[in-house]
Amino acid sequence: MADSSESRAQTFPQLLRQRLQHDAERPAMREKAYGIWQTWTLAQLCEEAFALAAGLSDLGFVRNDTLVIIGDNRPPLYGAMIAAQSLGGVPVPAYQDSVAQEIEYVVDHAEARFIVAENQEQVDKALEIREQCPRVERIIYCDPKGLRNYDPQVVIDIATLMARGREVLKTDPERVNSEIEKGAPSDTAIILYTSGTTGRPKGVVLSHENLLVTARNINAFDRITADEEVLAYLPMAWVGDNTFSFAMGLVAGFCVNCPESASTVAQDLREIGPTFYFAPPRIFESVLTSVIIRMKDAGRLKRWLFEHFMAVAKKTGVALMDGRPVAFWDRLHYGLGELLVYGPLKNTLGFSRVRVAYTAGEAIGPEIFEFYRSLGINLKQLYGQTEATVFITMQPDGVVRSESVGTPPPGVEVRIEDNGEVVYRGPGVFQEYFKNPEATAETKTQDNWVHTGDAGYFDDEGHLRIIDRAKDVGKMNDNSMFAPKFLENKLKFFPEIKEVVTFGDQRDFVTAFINIDLDAVGNWAERNNVTYASYQELAAHPKVYALVQECIEQVNQSLAQDSHLSSSQIRRFLILHKELDPDDGELTRTRKVRRRIINERYGDLIDALFDGREHCFVSTEVMFEDGRQGRIEADLEICDAAVSPERTRAAA
């Protein structure tokens, strides 16, 4: 509900106070709890947030203090963000699945005195790091279960603190309001710690203006209104959630829904039926994989219907979505498919009402991308990063490609440097890296251009294409380009392959580590009578090796058709004995490969790939889910893959 009076709002708390005048009774947030969708109207959300602010203020929380927030997406935690902002403080959400050391870094670096933790699990982590972070005064929790014996001097219930705040407001009703009035657009709205593919996390400082202007622009761009339903299920510490759920939601006035728990997201998604939806490619990928797997058990008729109409969709669906002309008969055929297959399928997946869906963060497989679009789901790509308040480029309706990531949205400029690196400038450009002027200076120029670190180019349509991390694009010994991520993504489009790491920089040829997808390969194994007792055993099975080899050889064939990349064909590979895991530091929390760490950990394996050995012994330290440390050992087989001859233009 962005009317003229709200455009004057310069901070989120100011915006909320204005919206309260006419939107007070609109549902602002919902949370699935106790079996139903408990609803917070805007008035309730603000009342709780302001009461909490008053309580915090009474505890001594002052302007520019930071408030670390750890937990799943919960309305009270979003309320805590508003509370901190209301006092001119800075919310610092941390990833809820981080281990204590990771939280310790954030808390210590942000100099936080207060932590809001969702439940006992998070409180325990917060207590664990108190020794190292003596600044921490209070830990505020939302869910009291199991916490009754904790020291009430340190650990307090959010409800108690709100009650305390309400008392404060009785005697001093302007306590919070006066702080809200002092807010300025350049105030820090949030600090988001980026996991970073290398080194320590950096705290990206975003101002209220960054978030507000970006939210307004994007809402206008995709015609986001107060009637959207959005499911907030991605980590609160991730800029996407902060932008999509928090900033855009508060600006547009739509309701944000929090799932019951991480394990019920699929069910909750189905119940809510979001109209505006974001998911990283891996989620779309795993949903598609599960669709395929579930359909394999279907009866003959259903399978025939599914396959038939999916073929119809492939033919006409995308054209319909892009508004291109389609023959009447095809339209009718597609309509029948909508009734029999697409409609029910979207319904069971929870996508029936999706009006705009985005994916970003990684390249998405063209097959996957088109599958969703052909069903009539308006899935688009965008390219962004935390430092830009997400948006660098995005795809407008009707011009959507799987291989490119669109054009800059209003207000954003994008340029390609001579070395191929993408740089941008716009209203969302971050203020600085918190307490890290060197890094800030490295990334952001004097005139506000930001280096993305990604290599890319604009194609003939004027759409940006991203190849790889600029620094990861290497050269092979024959001087041809080696873009590891590009290769890896191509392989990851096969459902059987979950992760890939390729090597080829300053080498004669390219090799790869493969992680198989346990669901997909496990299912395949079941159908093919391959028995196995563990992931490790399945990964080492000769038939699985053959399966993966087939995938690689297919990729090699397609690489052979591109003169720039034909020498990047993968000659040797091995299947890793364990899944690459963020807990072991091999992936970032957003599941990006940490190449440096992999190079360190598996140096011997890499050597083996290049020196022609057929076996290589490996022993790795791993962290189990319960926090114990252990070792996994294996003797891995190394396998050769056939390489296709380079196609000359004449032949093609």
């Binding site: 549902p27 919902r30 079996g35 139903i36 969708w37 408990q38 609803t39 339903e229 829904n257 189905r270 119940e271 809510i272 039926g273 669709v291 579930r294 359909m295 058990d297 279907a298 009866g299 259903k302 219907l305 599914f306 029999l340 297959v341 409609g343 029910p344 399928l345 979207k346 319904n347 069971t348 929870g350 996508f351 029936s352 009402r353």
Partner: protein, 354 residues
């Protein structure tokens, strides 16, 4: 396949505990109601309404009654015909002897009298269980048949032991046409079904099912076995009584003890078994099945009329009927309602198999 549940989320327990939480089911119900209220009179002939639909609806009420006792509370009864008979005779005597009582109230009072009788029959149920109780209800069946066959007082002294029911008026409006009767029965069906559905999803319904599923555990958590069983007997025979009264007044238009014999009890039992024990919907499906099956068999028999003697046709009907029952029990012992539930699950999951 037809379900589009995405976006149908519940923000209150009231909505979550609704009888039809899924929007498409509500639409289907509304469509059905419109059809039976408006569509049926337009489309169906008088013969169909009077001969098939009215009895179907009445049997459905009777089946709801028996289902509450047998399907929900687990007390096998072979005497539902007796409760219907008590209802029919009570209604006749109330209407004939005290014409001042409004006819709707007559039906309800008839139900109430049947309920009292039901409580009497059920009173040994605390001590006797299973087939013993079933035989006790059978005793009630024979006793009631005997009473109404023996004492002419119950039919106003008619020596034939059969008498026509008096005319019915509601607020001065005389119930004469088939359609009048149809709407009257339909009204009872709608209210009665809703009432029964509410009962089975409330505390009493859970107590009934608890007794059925495990009576010792039910008692241990505080459910009173006698009260619970007797309340099931009361509610069950109330429905039976109302159904019996409607049967006499709106369908056959006479009171006749042979209309409520043991085979009527068995017929209602068939309805709930074939329809589905412990399912309100099943009562309608079962009633429809039992009403429609003879019609279909009859139609088929007509094709052979002339070639096969009619006595033989009736015997073949018997065999097919009995055979179908056995076949049904083997194929789907949980009844049509379970088939419907399975189909619905499939439609909700479509295109996925599970």
């Amino acid at each position: 396949m037809l379900y589009r549940e995405t976006g149908q989320f519940k923000t209150s327990y009231k909505k979550d505990m609704a009888i039809f939480p899924i929007r498409q089911d509500r639409w289907a119900l509304i469509a059905t109601l419109i059809f039976v209220v408006v569509g049926v009179p337009l489309l169906a002939t008088e013969h169909v309404i009077a001969g098939y639909l009215i009895p179907l609806l009445i049997w459905a009420i009777a089946a709801i009654g028996l289902n509450i006792l047998t399907g929900y509370t687990g007390q096998l009864s072979l005497g539902h015909g007796a409760f219907m008979a008590v209802g029919a005779y009570s209604a006749y005597n109330l209407a004939a002897r005290v014409p001042e009582i409004p006819i709707i109230l007559v039906f309800l009072l008839a139900g109430l009298i049947a309920a009292i009788f039901g409580v009497l029959v059920g009173s040994p149920s605390l001590r006797i269980k299973g087939f013993y109780l079933a035989v006790a209800t059978l005793a009630a069946q024979f006793f009631v048949e005997w009473v109404f066959a023996t004492f002419p007082w119950f039919v106003g002294g008619a020596a034939s032991m059969v008498i026509d029911t008096p005319k019915m008026t509601i607020f001065g409006y005389q119930i004469t046409t088939t359609l009048d009767n149809y709407y009257l029965v339909l009204g009872f069906v709608v209210v009665g079904t809703l009432y029964a559905k509410n009962l089975v999803r409330s505390e009493i319904g859970r107590a009934w099912m608890a007794i059925r599923d495990m009576d010792v555990a039910a008692e241990v958590i505080g459910i009173r076995p006698l009260y619970t069983k007797l309340s099931a007997f009361a509610v069950s025979s109330f429905y039976g009584g109302v159904a019996g009264a409607l049967y006499a007044f709106c369908y056959v238009k006479s009171v006749d003890f042979t209309a409520f014999d043991l085979f009527v009890s068995l017929k209602v039992l068939f309805m709930i078994i074939i329809g589905g024990m412990g399912s309100i919907l099943g009562c309608f499906l079962g009633a429809a099945f039992i009403v429609v099956l003879p019609i279909i068999l009859n139609e088929i028999a007509h094709l052979f009329a002339g070639q096969i003697p009619s006595a033989m046709l009736s015997n073949i009907e018997h065999m097919i009927f009995g055979g179908l029952i056995i076949f049904f029990l083997i194929v789907e012992p949980h009844g049509l309602a379970r088939l419907w539930m399975t189909a619905k699950e499939k439609l909700r999951l479509w295109p996925f198999p599970h």
